[in-house]
Symmetry: D2
Subunit: 334 residues, 4 copies
């Protein structure tokens, strides 16, 4: 399979979903090898680089894209299969941006307390061992953690002419910050505008669920993705599928609303997949869903609701799209 | 090790944490074999038993206990190790109680819409295959699901003279409805009153994370637990430990507060366990925690924040209590 | 009308709704002159008295009561008319208790930031001018503010055997901290246990809506109340009535749920009062309700939803109970 | 004072904040007489017009504007004084849009229940009596309600290149749906882009606080506004001022966050206005703020936190801008 390679220059980076001109037109079925800059625009290179001095929250999560998918129309479903991910830099960075994150007051959960200290951690990447190194800033503790690459953002242009910051997770995907957006996962997104205009970015070498301090082990990333288009069938909210799970993702506030969105969407999906009555899908999923939190720090909080395939009769979603993408992607890797 | 066996009569069931006289005094280190009634008081025996006719929400989750632990004083830490769990009935039941559950309006998330239909599902237990059988009520779908026994409630008496319904998860534990409360897990609860006055109940043969419809596969349960006491060291919120994870559990509303509670408590615990500075514990846990939702349907929503032991240097919590309980429990089983 | 006077000794103070023996039995129709201690148990006498040293949050809001109302049974409606309120001390106190209040992280909205400084303000009471004096602690600003007496707590025993801290606002009333609980207002509470077991306390010489810092101008209070009983008709949540408004009060978390509760309850009340269809009551109230926040700092947040009588045809609630209580209370004052 | 009059054609209506070309350039100090279409684009003319058939939620709240204010730069403060408002149509309309509103599940607070019936109410306008007429749809109840004109939306372009639907209330103002946006109020908005690009719309002939059913008495509106510019001093969130109150408006989710935002912003404003220490401003405002809810139905919930001027020493905000605008507006009316 032929790969189109693309590495944006600094001037080509965009910071929104919607509102930017497509960087390239692609056909459905195209494989792409993409490079994405880290969330900080590579401004955090050492522990002496403070986020309060280097980071402007209006311009983080630089996106690679947007890509115009030929034939994509509102109401269609974009399928993005993540074939492979690999760190494109030998260090990752994480910071506690003042008044940003989950265990501090923020501009939304507004309080009068002083900010936590603006602190930077640098994680050395060891590709041979497949680890990143955590080193305490205020003591002598160090530990190697396995690399578990993921993309914090994958999204399309929003409907209604809206343009949203790449910090935002929403119906259109975006900054969901879910560890499920990893190698082997297919992401389904409803198309809102002609060409879909999807982009990716915000690579994480690893991340805890919730992304508590507000930033993961942020790093430039090489990605291979395979993109396809399903006519019609746009899901109301992002859906993921991999070999193990069917997943729906809600992003809203408060967090119980994120969960409700994901849980209702998976009920709807199961009604379709298995021909179940709403009440039976509700009951069945009540007993089998796994519900990892994705982020509690972004403009919306994201929750993933997922059902294990091995508990259920085999069924094809979107005409077997996930398996088809996997099959076509064979042989591609970083 | 000697087991005390106890099966409460109907008259001995209690429906609160706090406020009930102890059913028995036990010494720290005692193993107990306990029977607990299901959440519905065994009123839901067939699909024709409707929760609106049979269930009074003020008297559900009947508790086995409370047990007075000799020597337990406010500020101490109660450790309850779950040695084994086994269904004590050959069917489980689940219902969609009107205006109760996660995907319906409730007395709290109050709306004007009609209730969802009051529906009952009965799950046949097959102990040989270790499954419960889901059967659709409005179609021809059936599937066998693995039994994954857990206890919905384990709690102590609250502080300040409060008495709380056994529907409530809180600082004192209670109705957390977490699938982590399973065989092999040790639960740490801060003691609030002399004797701790703990109880257990609300057995689930399996449950999805979130317990979306409001009820799990509810069933009477046989439990073996091993109880011990740590002088002092009371955690602010419930903590769990098993061979794989250190866990903190927050129960509040909105759900982001539950998460904040669990995440902050695990930061505090990691400061103690590893001698980490608050900021380093915050950073490290941001990159490694798993965060499954437990329930989004009870009086408070519960979120479990957990860190995998295999990512970290070996360390003993509470003086190695979990391992000690495991060792002592060897040979005990249902 | 004969007044029963009661001033509890320190030993008679209670700190819960439910769980305490009645201090007195009264007949429906009885007027009471009651003294209540301030929320801090009079421990904050000067700006040098710090809440972190003096206040135990498990034992605040001491209650005067509980009173057993003869004939009151579960399902009945208790009516408490506030005839008059007057400061019973010549100073009020307010403090910023560490990790308590609305603009700080708390044990629920848990974060890692340092607490705000523990600070005390003393307000001198000038009954001649009917003012309390605010004096800045960190500068030279002073202003006299009008006294607007109210009771932070008025509640009955909860159902289901629960006992709740007097810090809690709930279905049973309790620590609603609403400025509407003032002279001239009738409070309707559903009775949950025989005798109703109501109590009052937590006098405020004035309070902003939200009670942002966590404490009002707290002070001992003299109250005259007139108590009556309506057989049946228990409202699901507290209702207030005065000459200007019909009001419903929701107390839950998140705050939109408190609002939903109050708004739905007022819809239900308007269906009864005016014979309106649910949809018409919904529409009408959508265009006329006033919705002041009561508190955003307690165990639950409280929101008052109210409809002005002067916009509507005259109608009697609870058989004209409010007017009847007003008439009977004539001549009573402090 | 010279008035520029503008009535947009249907083609000139815009449905976003940001993203639209300015319809006109004006100088600071300019008075404008503007006509705005109703939220439904005049599609709801009788009770037989159903919102599910006529309304596309992506294109509601048509805006009159945006206006480019000469000299306005990011960081400046736009002041918009509402000189007069008057119904521009002889009927208002309100509807219960399926799965939209405060007492129904929505796309965010997602549930499985059926929608409430899609219902339309038409309010006849009587300008002589200054009333709108409510008429029950499911019975024989009718009542005349006083007209209390307000603008649901007033906003500027967002920062960071974002474009937001005119359904959204945020830092940039927008669809706050606050009854305080009425004759005599000055609105202060931080400028994010050159020219500020403000617009107005969504006239309400009256609205209850919360806008419970999702729509007010919606109607076309004639407005006279006077616009001025303050260099610098951009508030973080919208501020209002009239003769009676200083006000800050928070719009977020959950609703306690909206309140926190407004309360913190008013603390900051009072630190500036009176030279108070943060803790003193916190304390003082805790005892005097009024906190009416604005909306609990939009993309964000809005809460107004306000402090009465008559309780406080006289002070000028923004160099006396409000009084100056009032003085200059004398003689202008509809």
């Amino acid at each position: 399979m032929e790969l189109i390679e693309f590495k944006p220059s600094f001037d080509q980076l965009v910071y929104t979903f919607g509102g930017a001109k497509p960087i390239m037109k692609i056909k459905p079925g195209q494989a792409l090898k993409l490079w994405s800059e880290d969330a900080f625009n590579d401004t955090i290179k050492s522990i002496n680089d403070l986020s309060s001095e280097k980071v402007d929250l209006r311009f983080v999560n630089p996106q690679t894209g947007p890509f115009y998918v030929e034939g994509a129309e509102p109401g269609d479903t974009l399928a993005i299969h993540i074939v492979d991910l690999k760190p494109a830099r030998n260090r990752g960075a994480s910071t506690t941006i003042p008044f940003f994150g989950g265990l501090t007051s923020t501009d939304r959960t507004a309080m009068l307390q002083d900010a936590l200290p603006d602190t930077t951690w640098i994680y050395e990447v060891d590709l041979a061992k497949n680890t990143v190194g955590f080193e305490a800033r205020f003591g002598n503790f160090a530990v190697e953690l396995p690399i578990e690459n993921m993309l914090g953002t994958v999204g399309v242009a929003p409907p209604g002419g809206e343009v949203r910051s790449s910090l935002v997770p929403e119906r259109f995907g975006g900054n969901m910050d879910s560890p499920e957006v990893k190698k082997g996962t297919t992401i389904y997104l409803g198309v809102n505008v002609e060409g879909a205009l999807f982009s990716i970015g915000d690579g994480h070498y690893r991340q805890g669920e919730g992304e508590a301090c507000g930033t993961a082990v942020e790093g430039a990333m090489d990605s291979i993705i395979l993109v396809d288009l399903i006519k019609g069938g746009a899901p109301a909210w992002p859906r993921f599928e991999n070999d193990e799970y069917f997943m729906s993702v809600g992003s809203s506030r408060p967090m119980e609303d994120s969960w409700r969105i994901g849980q209702v969407d998976l009920v709807r999906w199961f009604q379709d997949l298995y021909g179940l009555h709403q009440m039976d899908a509700y009951q069945l999923l009540s007993q089998i869903t796994k519900v990892p939190i994705a982020n509690v720090v972004d403009a919306n909080y994201s929750v993933v609701v997922k059902a294990a395939k091995n508990l259920l009769p085999k069924v094809d979603a979107y005409g077997g799209m996930h398996q088809s993408l996997k099959d076509r992607a064979k042989g591609l890797s970083l």
